[in-house]
Symmetry: C2
Subunit: 366 residues, 2 copies
Amino acid sequence: MQQFYMPVRVVEGAGCVRAAATLIAPLGKCALIVTGRSSKKNGSLDDVVAALEGNGQRYAVFDEVLPNPTIACVRAGAARAKEAGADFVIAIGGGSPMDAAKAIALLARQDIADADLFAGRYSPDVLPMVHIPTTAGTGSEVTQYSILTDDVAESKTSIATPYIFPRLALLDGGYMASLGHNTTVNTAIDALSHAVEGMLSVKAGEVSDLLAKESISIICSLAKKIAADRLAPVDRQKLLYASMLAGMVIANTGTTAVHAMGYSLTYYHEIDHGRANGLLLGAFVAFCAQHLPERTDAILQAGSFESPAAFSQMLADLLGQREALTDAEMKKYAAKAIAAKNIANCAYQPTEAELYQMLKISLEEK
Amino acid sequence: MQQFYMPVRVVEGAGCVRAAATLIAPLGKCALIVTGRSSKKNGSLDDVVAALEGNGQRYAVFDEVLPNPTIACVRAGAARAKEAGADFVIAIGGGSPMDAAKAIALLARQDIADADLFAGRYSPDVLPMVHIPTTAGTGSEVTQYSILTDDVAESKTSIATPYIFPRLALLDGGYMASLGHNTTVNTAIDALSHAVEGMLSVKAGEVSDLLAKESISIICSLAKKIAADRLAPVDRQKLLYASMLAGMVIANTGTTAVHAMGYSLTYYHEIDHGRANGLLLGAFVAFCAQHLPERTDAILQAGSFESPAAFSQMLADLLGQREALTDAEMKKYAAKAIAAKNIANCAYQPTEAELYQMLKISLEEK
């Protein structure tokens, strides 16, 4: 038995935020715009404000979301939402503002203690949301996940509930025109990792595979342009589409061992989330090639690679010099990862020793 | 600007109705099961009853849906729903029961006069629905359309509103094991027509095209087995998947000139809906090849055809002897079709004279 569910309305194309104003109008009287310090400086905030003003909707701005948002951050955002009387939320940014916005929309309506925040008991009473991605990576605009930094677990943990699917995702690649090279690379790798991991998940299905293969095909066909920092506007829109598809994939499949290990690289070494996934992805695909040859072949075929080694080489070209860890660190992260729920989600589950081997292959040794 | 929206949760696989019982449980206390005289005789009704009884949910059965359901039929169903105190609906069958169930779920909660039924003003208050297709054709399990026979318009007309998307679609190809040959052929052609027309719609988008191409690829790869009546159970499940994908396509794109003309063949000559589409589809693709070569090429490539003629030949092999119409009838149906909203939906809009030409090519002359 397989399932597919994707309740988010997706609107795509240049100028789509202003053009979709009529879809924003029914959501409420006052928006809380959730964004980061810089992710709104690309015309996106102007477009949102124009749409809201045209609709006669009020708004307040919460622009204090930092990368890898914490519980304290989303509590501050929820307080701002209540204070402003916001009855819907508009998220503008990469994964951090988009994920934070979901938790804010939840906490603005429900009192949940820190200890219960990741426990999975939520009511459907959540502010409706519009998500506007300004990077092509996380796919958060079409998922039911809010990934937050959890200092108790010393990792990233997710709020996962269908109640936090955005109502509307507005995808305008124009907002990425001046995105920095590193961010472009890391987010593209993040999206690729979602599509690939989705096909290696125990929950992979026909629809999710179809979307994943299209996403892999698009991202890999643009890999050389990404590495050379030569993306045309049409390529930016394609990447945004591919990352959205990969988001639809993980909304249905979840992620796997790559994310389980990657969270430690981000938590303890401040390695960007997408890059952390990319460092580990080649080793995971090579590992799966031994146990799930059909699935791995489908991934390689979608990206036009002849072997897992060719796939890893493409990633190596994007990643450059790899970070160095001590052997003790790698042991620790393998031990943390094996306990993560993403491991049970792998179509072929690695052992702790195998995770340790993947970390050894993926990183330099200090 | 393009949009994609598909809020139906799709569950697929052998035994999925009983396996998905937990997804049916939250929908209500008493189901109205809407079905036809025969479409439940394949194990589907037993599975639904077992799931409901396991959940402790009551049910009533309305099995009076005939092919091409009328307004009177859905009013009778709505009355039955009220009488039984049904708070949700389960549809079992092909397009007729599934489409009727949507109108019943609407009319059980809203008083709408016949004259206003197709006028597009509905409230969101509709009974939640579960759709269980027993043919692989209509895709109604994932659309917001309820197509009814409208004796005032002397045609088929649709209730179209996002409020009538089913909550849940349960796809078990096992229910089609003993489906008659004609029904198998006609419904497969219907699904193919949806996927092809979706790619020739003014609303075609990246996601709908991706789903349409996959659907075309699957159906055309099975065309010889369909014609020879040699479908294995795995092929039945694939066809059901393909027709569901094609339903997701038309939910986003609507249909085109083929449906606009086909409705007259069904209304005046009782030609099965899928067959009516199939009779016209080859001529429409050949027409579009002159004006939209890129889109047509993508369709032909998805189905592995070298030319529009090869595509038409595959349809001819499935259709056999074509029905004969008088010249006056063809003129009349072209005139009726040009006024239909499906024409404005064509990426390249044919004139009335061109519709008449397509009818002439598609049918024998009496």
